[in-house]
Amino acid sequence: MSGLLTEAFLSSLLTGAIVAAIPILLAGLGEQMSEKAGVLNIGIEGMMLMGAYVGFLVAFETNSLWLGFLGGILGGVLTAIVMAVLCVRLGLNQIVIGIGLTLGVEGLTALLHHFQFSRTYPRLPAPERLNIPGLTDLPVIGPSLFGRHLIVYLALIAVVVLAYLYRRTNLGMTLSAAGERPAALDVAGGNVLGIRVVAVLFTGAMAGLGGAYLANIGAGLFIPFMTGGAGFIGIVLAMLARGRPLWVLIGSLIFGAALSLTTALQVAGSNIPTDVIQMLPFAAVMLVLVLFGRRAKLPAALGAAYERGAR
């Protein structure tokens, strides 16, 4: 094992953990808002993949990573609009439509990618990095913690902003009310469907951004089906965080580490088959669910469509 614990291995593990954590952090934060408002957003995997596809395409055509991120948000929101109309406005089953959206985006992006690029996978140039003089030069942790793309720090700020929003603002209370007692919110003059639509669109934006990060920064290219369950891991994070953004952050770092162990072990030249290594993050999720699954607390009205006056 001593051969594994070199500076290069640790550095790539830490870097990998952060790079892998950001997409699932964004997805988890997005899903959390949907779930707070009472919508179980299974379509998040599709929103993320659409964000990755549109985000990559925009960045590839314009050579601008920032426009790419905007494109990712747009792709996620467009997918979320379908979900918002069908599941919130029309009250259709959230799980069936969520699976439908995920399958549809998987097929659509693979199809479009095939007709645009055939079997080639063009790469984006390496992203520019934020350089903080002094800190970035530290060994091991320097390049991993302080040399990331600006979006990483924006994601961290989002954790704080969301925590404040949920605890201290009226909007946060309205969101919880829509998820716990939609009828009570309705009687109090709140707009249940309106706030749920906002929550679903926010989920789409965050998941799309996460997808764009995955494609543009994480991989530097788009591959069909590339999200590979990252959105579903985001759902698990949101379920276990019991409504707290900080817990989503902690969870995403743990799963990010499990995900990056995959790449780090490959870098270190370990001869364990990739299939086994790829099982790590999912095994970690199951382990956490077995140990703490009972503690997951979900809003009372989660998954149920709200119809005024319905029994």
């Binding site: 259709l92 699976i99 439908g100 549809g104 199809l111 999912f282 669910l289 009972r294």
Partner: protein, 369 residues
């Protein structure tokens, strides 16, 4: 069954859905319901997908025409379609049990693949040791057991801890798919081939073919499985108990049923049938499992089961058309250069249009009251 109210088996049967007032409604309105609930969504889905085909520059008429010609109007295609129905039918049986009992088993892909791998690993070794029928029986039984075992963690978590099974079954599915591939590469690998794959069951030892065709008799077993499950869920006391748990677990507890045990039974049966689906593909058609093979039938069958409103007979009809679609699109992928991923788009459009049909029907009936 409407897609709006959660899985509610009481309204799952069209027959029981018809109350006194609805019985007097004329024939024409029954026809209208069929149009809004079944034919309409299917047509709308094909139209919606046609738009996407046009977007990528493929003539939808050529594409759909090719699929029809290839899968239904050619003898060989029709036989392939019938053969492909077997694993899909077993998966329908699996999902009908789970959905009628209110359990979202979304992990059928993992259960399917592990079932396939264990049957491919065991059957070739048993040839010569056991008589032919016993080899096949052993393959099927092992596959069902392995599938059921793979659902054990989600089942226990759901039954005793109340952990949402959607996530746990999905995660176990990802794990199962990767584990299946690992097992093929490391444990059950055929030492005589260069590509990683299991030993191959000789053609003469596979499930017999029907009459003079190339149709595998797995089709018959799949049909029996769906019909048996349909009868079990609608006509037996055990099926009624499962449906009660699905309709209202709290009420079922008060009625004296052991909800945790019935939940475990649902998972075991549903995952067992998913395992059988894997075995039917291997023992009937493929003969071996190659590493990284994953047809991912599981999630794709979900819309069919919903479209059939959890009715076994309806599911059989839909599986036939769906199977034709798959055979046709596999061929179109080679000939017309449209990747098979298009089937995913079609399935997704079907799910969405189906939901819209339910919505329209729901509101029409509300007005009638």
């Amino acid at each position: 069954m409407t897609i709006q109210d959660d899985m509610n088996p009481v309204s799952a049967d069209p027959e029981t859905n018809v109350d006194g007032i609805a019985r007097t409604v004329t024939e024409r309105s029954a026809l209208q319901r069929v149009l809004t609930l079944t034919v309409g969504p299917i047509l709308a889905a094909f139209l919606l997908s046609a738009l996407i085909l046009m977007l990528v520059g493929v003539n939808p008429l050529t594409y759909y025409g090719y699929i029809l010609e290839r899968s239904l109007f050619s003898g060989l295609g029709l036989q392939q379609t019938a053969t492909r129905m077997a694993p899909l039918l077993f998966l329908c049986a699996s999902l009908i049990i789970a959905f009628r009992a209110g359990i979202w088993n979304l992990g059928t892909d993992g259960q399917f693949l592990l079932g396939a791998v264990i049957s491919a690993a065991s059957a070739p070794l048993l040839v010569g040791v056991l008589p032919g029928w016993a080899v096949l029986l052993a393959g099927f039984v092992l596959a069902a057991l392995v599938g059921a075992v793979w659902s054990l963690i989600p089942a226990l978590l759901k039954a005793y801890q109340g952990v949402n099974e959607i996530i746990t079954t999905l995660m176990m599915s990802f794990l199962g798919v990767l584990l299946a591939s690992t097992l093929v590469k490391l444990v059950f690998r055929d030492p005589e081939t260069t590509v990683p794959q299991t030993r191959t069951l000789p053609v003469e030892d596979r499930l017999p073919r029907l009459f003079d065709t190339s149709i595998s008799s797995g089709l018959i077993w799949g049909l029996i499985a769906v019909l048996a499950v349909h009868l079990m869920m609608t006509r037996t006391a055990f099926g009624l108990r499962l449906r009660m748990v699905g309709a209202n677990p709290l009420a079922a507890t008060h009625a004296g049923l052991s909800v945790p045990l019935l939940t475990l039974a649902t998972f075991g049966l549903s995952a067992g049938f998913a395992g059988l689906a894997g075995a039917s593909e291997i023992l009937g058609v493929a003969g071996n499992v190659r590493a990284n093979w994953n047809p991912a039938y599981g999630l794709m069958v979900i819309p069919l089961v919903f479209l059939a409103r959890f009715n076994g007979v309806g599911a059989i009809v839909l599986v036939f058309f769906y199977s034709a679609l798959m055979i046709g699109s596999e061929s179109a992928a080679r000939r017309l250069g449209v990747p098979q991923d298009f089937t995913l788009v079609l399935v997704a459009s079907l799910l969405i249009c189906l939901g819209l049909g339910e919505y329209i029907d729901h509101h029409k009936r509300k007005k009638e009251r």
